[in-house]
């Protein structure tokens, strides 16, 4: 799912200090799971902001809500009535949610409260790591189920590079070498023969390089 992390408090304060009534809108989807933008984070942020503005002596009303998802219009519509009471909204959804909310309510500033980071997994409680870069053409079948685009810092198709040491990436010893992982997995699967075939240059047009993307499934259209 999509991973995000809270924006620094002073950035959020700067975003909203010109307003009087601000709604903090969480999302019960991905950002709830990665503990960046669910109801819990909405409550904490709202409380902290109220305390800040109270001490500053600035009048500021902070509302709290969280929507089932901010990437579906039917849930965003739930704000139709209440949004009129606010000068601005801080959305704790991912970048998609923030934009989609803004598309529906085009006369209210919708401000981001989190930095959207990557598509990843909960490796352990409190630790989230990247797994996918949404290149639009999955090649996991040939790489032992480990993605060289997301897991190799140089997204090498024919890795590992010369900087791989003790299973770690040259960029940072905290990062596992993606190609070491691929090698280990292929070995385990008895597919090391795949390793020696040069992989052809990738078609990136299905990735962000091809421009904003769209998927249409006719059967589901109304």
């Amino acid at each position: 799912m999509i991973m995000a992390k809270a924006k620094p408090m002073d950035e959020i304060i700067n975003e909203i200090k010109g307003f009087r009534k601000v709604l903090i809108a969480g999302c019960n989807g991905c950002v709830t799971v990665c503990e960046a933008g669910g109801m819990k984070e909405v409550e904490l942020l709202a409380s902290a902001l109220r305390m800040f503005f109270m001490r500053e002596g600035q009048e500021m009303e902070i509302g709290e809500t969280s929507l089932t998802r901010q990437c579906d219009p039917e849930y965003n519509r739930e704000l139709q009535e209440s949004i009129r009471n606010y000068d601005a909204v801080v959305s704790l959804a991912c970048g998609a949610g923030v934009q989609f909310l803004a598309e529906m309510y085009d006369n209210v500033p919708i401000l981001p409260g989190v930095d959207t980071c990557f598509i990843g997994v909960t490796e352990e409680p409190g630790v989230w790591t990247e797994r996918c870069q949404a290149c639009g053409q999955c090649l996991l079948a040939s790489t032992g189920g480990i993605c060289p685009i997301a897991r190799c810092s140089k997204r090498m198709a024919n890795g590992p590079c010369g900087g791989s040491a003790n299973g770690k990436c040259e960029v940072n010893k905290e990062i596992a070498c993606g190609w070491q992982l691929i090698y280990d997995r292929l070995k385990q699967l008895g597919q090391l023969d795949r390793f020696e075939q040069p992989v052809d240059i990738k078609n990136w047009s299905t990735s962000r390089d091809g421009g904003p993307r769209k998927i249409i499934k006719e059967v589901s259209r109304q």
């Binding site: 198709a157 900087g163 960029v171 992989v199």
Partner: protein
Amino acid sequence: MNTTTPSKLERILAAGHLAVTSECGPPRGCNGNVVAEKARSIGDYVDAINVTDNQTAVVRMCSLASCIRIKQMGLEPVLQMVTRDRNRIGIQSDIMGAASFDIHNILCLTGDHQSFGDHPEAANVFDMDSTQLIQTVKLMRDEGRLLSGFEMKDCPKMFIGAAENPFADPFEIRVSRLAKKVAAGAQFIQTQCIYNMDKFKRWMQGVVDRGLHEKVYILAGLTPMKGVGMAKYMKNRVPGMDVPDDIIKRLSGVPKEKQAEEGINICIEQIQELKEVKGINGFHIMAIEWEEKVPEIVERAGLYPRPRVD
């Protein structure tokens, strides 16, 4: 082996000589004389001069312009090209440009990650990797086509090289990685700087066992140590570098002012030892910001004068 290109480096290797290459790093500025000076100081002692392409991701004068300068001095450049900074459009365009100046050698690299360099906030490209760059040059040269399928009238005639680091992990795939680059079209290999001779020989044995030494020329990479400080830095800070403790011990065993000389001695002893290793076709001497020492190393290693093949 027959030659496939007009490359002087290829002709020397094909004639069975031990080749000697060196490299020169362009300046972090616009003074082309720096490149010219470095090239002039080593030109007579080496068969070809690599020009690094923004090595360690630090912005420097471009490799292509420097190679052209070297070529115009009547010397033989090896164009190093990394895939970090250009996509397939830029890469193929630069290859055409290089070929238009009769640059006949290319070393295909992925490149150090930009986080090491002076612009860690840069976006990287990595449209392709080093192996795919090899394939691309080969496609352009042998089939006269671009990656798009477009057919060129005049093809780049380039002797294709690649780097290999026998000391990176996992060690057991380092031979098959070489095989992969050879399968992609690599004709010569310049290795990472060798300090751990035992490990290097084990790798070479693997290369010979698979018969790869008959398909690709291998130039052993060497970088003389300027002192114990450099040795420690290489050991601890440079990714993919394997500096055994004996080297550090040997350097720290001599007074500070003699350490540079000792570094040169080590380098020359290594060359002598490597001459005996099966599958070694030459040496790539990377005297980092110490190019003036290359002539001494080449001479003392018994590799001077260089053969004439034209």
